[in-house]
């Protein structure tokens, strides 16, 4: 079963090799033949490729080429000059005392420059001590740390510095851009103090906010260096990150909500801490224990039920005494509810407010636990796909996704848009692979308790054996009599010959993959050869798993039973008519 995207790419590759469209369509021996839809797309590809393309005029080309060649000389020259300067100096003659004095003077001057330079170096780049204010809307003000300081209006391009207090008013906002590119967006009614604003020449960053109120969103470039940190202190707890996208919403004297788009975030309250990964959120309340991280939901629409559960935009959720309800809502009122999806599938509201607009909207995040032909199961919830659904790539069980959806009259939840938040689904922080050095305090240690247990039994990634090197293949696959210990282990585990296991190994499959294939074969009844063939055809392990076990039998029962009303879709994008010729 080949994906339509792969099929199209294969057909395009044939065209790129010089095959004509007609020969591809009519050749029965061809590996793939296009259907009408693909044929139309190929026609379009050919038409684009065959168009007369624009060109730069020859004078411009000549000018640019000369500029490039000149630029090369400019780039090379400073290095040559440097080399000349660093050449050995001539010895001082007995007659040249004045040159000695001059030399001593020069040495003193050099020393002074070095001391001054060291001071500047230690202080870090000038830009590290300030942030530039951009995208100002409405009224945004700053007051310096001085006790008698007055509030001053901020405009685009202004800078704020360490100790400054910044506030935004209703329907106002701004963004702060730090010297190494990280960015903080301030929503309306924000009140915060830039308690630390520092950094080093290696683009290390030291940022700490004291956020008293309002909602902020942070886009943090993976931190560099031992001393780097990026943290938000709220009245109820502290948030530390490495490199990630996350948001903090503080309701004065009540609670702070922390949500993560991508990456990993540590939330600390007194001596307790939790780690949030992509798509997750938690709420921190004064005097209460930290809430366990959970995936999020938000719904915007009119309130249609206020019984045991509230209903907005067709989505039912639970309201508890802990839920922060910011107005005295009545049935029919527009509301924006945000909260967490608990492990048992309960949608628990943390905050209910008046929305800024009245466009009905529903969104949730979660881990893909099953994939069907026209539905996915996200956590415990079945989400249907239709021809309007937009998403990129192929879903893999374990991916964390964000889904915008609508609830139809028949109670089916239909996705409008699905976005992949974290490809490996295990909450890998954005900075994890890019910051070899940890930070002093801000970086959470990677431990097995960081994330809510992601159902390891359902994971379809092969066991974590290292990829064998070419040398290992060569050693064990060229008639050597030594036996590979993993080969022996798997032959015993699956009661097959060592040679059979090594046969797959020598076709460049890792032992982890072989282990997975034999397990899948035992579970599904499909032969090992057929499963390897699926893999060779380009399918991911998640897709293979879904194919072999298309029903979500091993995941918790969906809260909304799928009620298929129509045949499974052949494709997810609405086909369009052939152009009139």
């Amino acid at each position: 079963m080949m994906r339509k995207e792969d099929l199209l790419e294969q057909l395009i590759a044939e065209i790129e090799k010089g095959q004509s469209l007609d020969s591809i369509s009519s050749n029965p021996s061809s590996a793939v033949t296009p259907e009408e839809d693909e044929r139309q797309l190929l026609e379009l590809v050919c038409a684009i490729r065959n168009l007369d393309q624009p060109q730069m005029c020859s004078e411009t080309v000549d000018l640019q080429k000369r500029a490039v060649m000149n630029e090369l000389q400019k780039s090379i020259q400073p290095r040559s000059e440097q080399n000349r300067v660093s050449g050995k100096s001539a010895p001082v003659s007995g007659r040249g005392w004045r040159w000695v004095w001059a030399g001593a003077f020069a040495a003193l001057a050099l020393f002074a420059v070095l001391v001054g330079g060291a001071g500047i170096w230690l202080a870090g780049p000038r830009d590290a001590h300030r942030a530039t204010v951009v995208d100002v809307t409405g009224v945004v003000e700053v007051a310096s740390s001085n006790a008698n300081a007055e509030w001053v209006l901020l405009e685009d391009g202004d800078v704020v510095k360490e100790g400054d207090r910044v506030r935004t008013f209703t329907d106002s906002g701004a963004a702060l851009v730090f010297f190494e590119g990280s960015r903080t967006v301030l929503g309306e009614d924000v009140d915060l103090v830039l308690s630390t604003l520092d950094g080093g020449w290696n683009k290390s960053l030291k940022i700490s906010f004291n956020q008293l109120a309002g909602e902020t969103h942070h886009s943090v470039i993976p931190l560099r260096g031992q001393k780097s940190f990026f943290g938000v202190v709220t009245p109820f707890g502290q948030v530390n990150v490495h490199g990630t996208l996350f948001g903090v919403n503080v309701d004065r004297d009540k609670q702070a909500m922390v949500s993560v788009d991508t990456g990993k975030v540590q939330v600390v309250q007194d001596n307790a801490q939790v780690y949030l990964t992509s798509g997750q959120a938690t709420t921190v309340r004064k005097g209460q224990a930290l809430e366990k991280p959970a995936y999020q939901f938000s719904v915007l629409g009119r309130l249609t039920s206020m019984e045991e559960q509230w209903t907005v935009a067709g989505v039912q959720f639970t309201v508890t005494p802990n839920t922060l309800v910011l107005q005295d809502f009545q049935l029919g009122d527009p509301v924006l509810a945000r909260g967490r999806i608990l492990e048992d599938g309960t949608f628990l509201a943390d905050r209910i407010d008046i929305p800024k607009n009245k466009h009905e909207k529903a969104k949730l995040t979660g881990e893909v636990t099953a994939v069907g032909s026209d539905y996915w199961v996200i956590g415990n919830t079945t989400i249907w796909l239709d021809e309007e659904t937009e998403f990129e790539g192929a879903p893999v069980i374990g991916n964390v996704v964000s889904v915008n959806f609508v609830v139809l009259g028949d109670q089916r939840w239909v996705a409008k848009e699905i976005e992949l938040l974290d490809e490996d689904g295990k909450g890998k922080a954005v900075g994890d692979t890019e910051t070899p050095e940890g930070t002093d305090t801000a970086t959470p240690e990677e431990t097995s308790t960081l994330t809510p247990s992601p159902e390891q039994t359902e994971t379809v990634v092969p066991s974590d054996t290292p990829v064998p090197t070419e040398e290992v293949f060569e050693y064990y696959c060229t008639g050597n009599t030594d036996h590979h210990p993993d080969g022996i282990k798997l032959s015993e585990k699956y009661n097959v010959s060592y040679q059979e296991i090594m046969g797959w190994f020598c076709k460049k499959n890792g032992f982890g993959e072989i282990d997975l294939v034999y397990t899948l074969s035992q579970e599904s009844g499909m032969s090992v050869e057929e499963i390897f063939a699926l893999r060779e055809s380009g399918m991911g392990w998640g897709q293979i798993k879904a194919l072999l076990d298309p029903k979500p039998t091993k995941v918790p029962k969906p809260t909304k039973e799928p009620k298929p009303t129509k045949e499974p879709k052949e494709e997810l994008i609405k086909p369009t008519k052939k152009p009139k010729k």
Partner: protein, 185 residues
């Protein structure tokens, strides 16, 4: 001048060979120009950005990893980033949401576009589709980059690029159909 591999030209340029730098320019300037042109839709802007790309190439040539790197992909990444910088500086947003714009300006566009696909029609059609899809189509079929290099340039997975490619072609086909532009052989 004998035909050198890109890597060899890069090494020579690093040692100060103007001819090698000029050869790299000759080899790739049209591809880069076309990519930029279809992304910005403006000949003058495309020429300026192309010049900027090659100046950056020379300035950063010592950063390029000769041993493992793909020079063409590296150059397209510079071009891609230069386009983003251009839009950031000029505060112009390139994306026109397909559903909103199509219905509104169909009438006016219909009177302008040729009924046979031309470079101008394609340019107009591309402006109507999602930015990522547009980038993929231009890199893939106008610049002629293979999927892997498109993925590297746009910092996306190959699967994602294949998805964007298919959806981009479907969207473009829809636009051309609405305008009754034929593109058959």
């Amino acid at each position: 001048m004998p035909v050198f591999e890109d890597q060899e030209l890069v090494l020579r340029a690093r040692q100060g060979s103007e001819i090698a730098a000029g050869e790299l320019y000759e080899r790739y300037h049209q591809q880069i120009f076309r990519y930029v042109y279809y992304r910005t839709g403006n000949q003058g802007v495309a020429e300026d950005i192309t010049s900027e790309v090659f100046l950056k190439m020379v300035q950063k040539i010592s950063d390029f990893q000769v041993k493992n790197g793909n020079f063409q992909g590296w150059l397209f990444r510079i071009a891609h980033n230069s386009i983003i910088d251009y839009y950031r500086k000029t505060q112009v947003h390139p994306e026109v949401p397909i559903n909103e714009d199509l219905t509104r300006d169909t009438e006016s566009v219909l009177s302008e576009v040729s009924k046979k696909m031309t470079e101008e029609t394609l340019l107009k059609g591309l402006q109507k589709i999602n930015e990522d899809q547009r980038s993929v189509i231009i890199l893939r079929f106008i610049a002629g980059l293979p999927i892997a290099q498109v993925a590297g340039t746009l910092n996306k997975s190959e699967d994602a690029v294949k998805g964007l490619q298919r959806r981009g072609l479907l969207a473009l086909r829809e636009v051309l159909d609405r305008w009754e532009v034929s593109y058959d052989a």
